[in-house]
Amino acid sequence: MSFVSQFKAQAQVMAGDLRHRKIIRTALRNYEIVRDVRKASFQDWQGARQLAAETKWQAVNHLDKHLEQFAAKLESRGTKVHWASTAEQAREIVLKIVSDKQAKSVIKSKAMTSEEIHLNDALEHAGLNVVESDLGELIVQLRKEAPYHIVFPSMHLTRDEISELFQRELGSAATNDPEELTMIARRALRKKYLTADIGITGANFAIAETGMISITENEGNARLTAALPKTMISLIGIEKVLPRMEDLALFLPMLATMGTGQQLTCYNTLYSGPRQPGETDGPEEWHVVLLDNHRTELLADAEQRDALHCIRCGACLNVCPIFRNVGGHTYGTTYSGPIGSVITPHLRGLQDWKHLSSASSLCGACTETCPVKIDLHHHLLQNRRNAAEQKPSFGEKTAFKLFAFAANRPALWNFGKKMARIFQPLQGAVQGSALDPAKAWTKTRDLPPLAQESFKDWWRNRK
């Protein structure tokens, strides 16, 4: 089945799933309340957005310089930096480190880049035991499914569903107390941290000036992932760069505000290198893998380059009426929602993924909320244009050519209107059947009758 058929089939099911609609709506209503409280605590939210967009613009438009600086700083403190052009290269780099270390088990903290390159599959295929340490990620890992949302991987599940999963997979007792569910996961994870040979993390920001990565989290699991195993690997998309340390003063509260509605997340940690002489903790080795995987192609697209500003806060997903009705898994991609619909055609091919750009009413709620001012809904429109220019659909192209032909001949257009008025009762007779030319509309909606006297008729009669 093609990607578009899969999307349509899944969307058909999810759009009518009222239980799903209610779960997501309830979760997001709570998010909206706390998000707005935190936004209001900024002295000038729109000014903060503008500053963030400009900072990211600078970072992205001088990416080469910032990346070289970042890598040089990291290397000066003994970190091994790897450059991966493709997902395959990134997997090979990680697998090589793992095999050099003769590792048997890996503990991971949340990293969308690892989902993007399907790292867990590759590691498991190589015989490793891989455990996700973020609670939401652990839940979806145990369910053998992809994260539902960039920030809230298991938001589509109820506590009872999670309890049943834990009973089955971790042998715990039934409970729907969130604290107890968290403790069940923690007890299971604690052993894994102590025995893991390798810890794998992502990064929220890569600070070029100091050669540090910033990880923001609420569970402390990334700290344990980074601190306990002897070897640490961080897989980072090249667009995560921020020029200066002081930029975090804006970006950390901004990410927390839009991601989870917090002033700051509970743990914000900067990692600057492996254990240095005289230090008592930290990994013996740290590898940073910088991932391109088509990001430089997006960088080359002046019109949509700002999509690399994304800080993966998930705010655009949360306000998107498409996402809220079809859910994250329907997209069939690592990055869902508006940002996913914008970048997936660049990351995985325009013709295979253009349907995500069409599956939008272009309402612009995403652009309005984006903290780094990515022009999301206009990029969806540009993707549609680029797709049609590159490979027009014969049916659509013909239909719009006919449309333009008629629109430019008012007499023909008006004749068409009269014909439609005459034949509309016939449509009514076959409404809902396979013969109904308007069935895509009339299956769920009534069609208004064409007016007996159009505006144009009225205007002429009046004169």
């Binding site: 069409s358 719009f400 629109a407 430019n408 205007w459």
Partner: protein, 238 residues
């Protein structure tokens, strides 16, 4: 002044009363109304589907019709955004670029024209009903219209405006999106209708007939007593 009306294709064919109301309101305010009959459509359907060449073919016929207009007024945030925001993009680097920009600068959505250009809010209208207002996305986010329609409704005698929780949430019409992805469009419309119903309003008012066509289509199918009406028709009730 002479106001040139741009009547969207679906208003012409399906909802002429919205256009007629605009003519009557503007004339009562003492303005002369012009209507270029040769205009059929702004070209938005092919534009939003990515077929910009075909959109340009249609829009190129619109431009000369509006070239000498003092003010172009459109009773739709969606078609208004097409002329105001997207025509300059569509004609970028073409000989019509300047004309497209000039027309963009003179184009107004109807409610914004009354409030921001003419400085009128009280039209002496009476509409003794409880209503809720639906913000069409193009009007709200491309044109930044939020206050103008409400300022006008605020002066309608007997009218009670109750905001719905999802006033700014897309109704799910989205042009060709409504028939390309009818299941998603319908789900979005259901959310909208449920939110409007919660207000116990009698009418959903909007400045976009295209959204209302979708919303009314769902409401009628559900057998809901809630009705939809264009803002201009409300303002024209004397």
């Amino acid at each position: 002044m002479t106001v040139t009306l741009f009547i969207p294709c679906f208003v012409d064919a399906l909802f002429p009363r919205a256009g007629i109301s605009m003519v009557q309101i503007l004339e009562r305010l003492g303005h002369k109304v012009a209507f270029p009959e040769a205009i059929t459509c702004c070209g938005q359907p092919p534009f939003n589907s990515g077929y910009w060449d075909e959109a340009r073919t249609v829009a190129a016929k619109v431009l000369p019709q509006l070239a000498n207009a003092e003010a172009v007024v459109i009773g739709s945030g969606s078609c208004g955004a097409m002329l105001k925001v997207f025509y300059p993009q569509l004609f970028e680097n073409t000989p019509q670029a300047t004309l497209a920009k000039q027309i963009s600068a003179r184009t107004w959505e109807f409610s914004d024209f009354l409030v921001s250009k003419l400085g009128v809010t009280d039209l002496g209208a009476k509409f003794p009903h409880k209503v809720t207002f639906h913000d069409g996305c193009h009007g709200l986010r491309e044109l930044g219209l939020k206050k103008s329609p409400r300022a006008l409704l605020g002066k309608v005698s007997g009218l009670e405006l109750v905001e719905m929780g999802e006033a700014e949430t897309c109704c799910g019409f989205g042009g060709t999106f409504a028939t390309k992805f009818p299941m998603i469009s319908t789900a979005m419309g259901e959310v909208k209708c449920a939110s409007a119903t919660e207000t116990s309003a009698e009418y959903i008012v909007s400045n976009d007939s295209s959204c209302l066509m979708h919303i009314q289509g769902l409401l009628s199918r559900q057998g809901s007593p809630l009705k939809t009406i264009h803002l201009a028709e409300v303002l024209n009730q004397q």
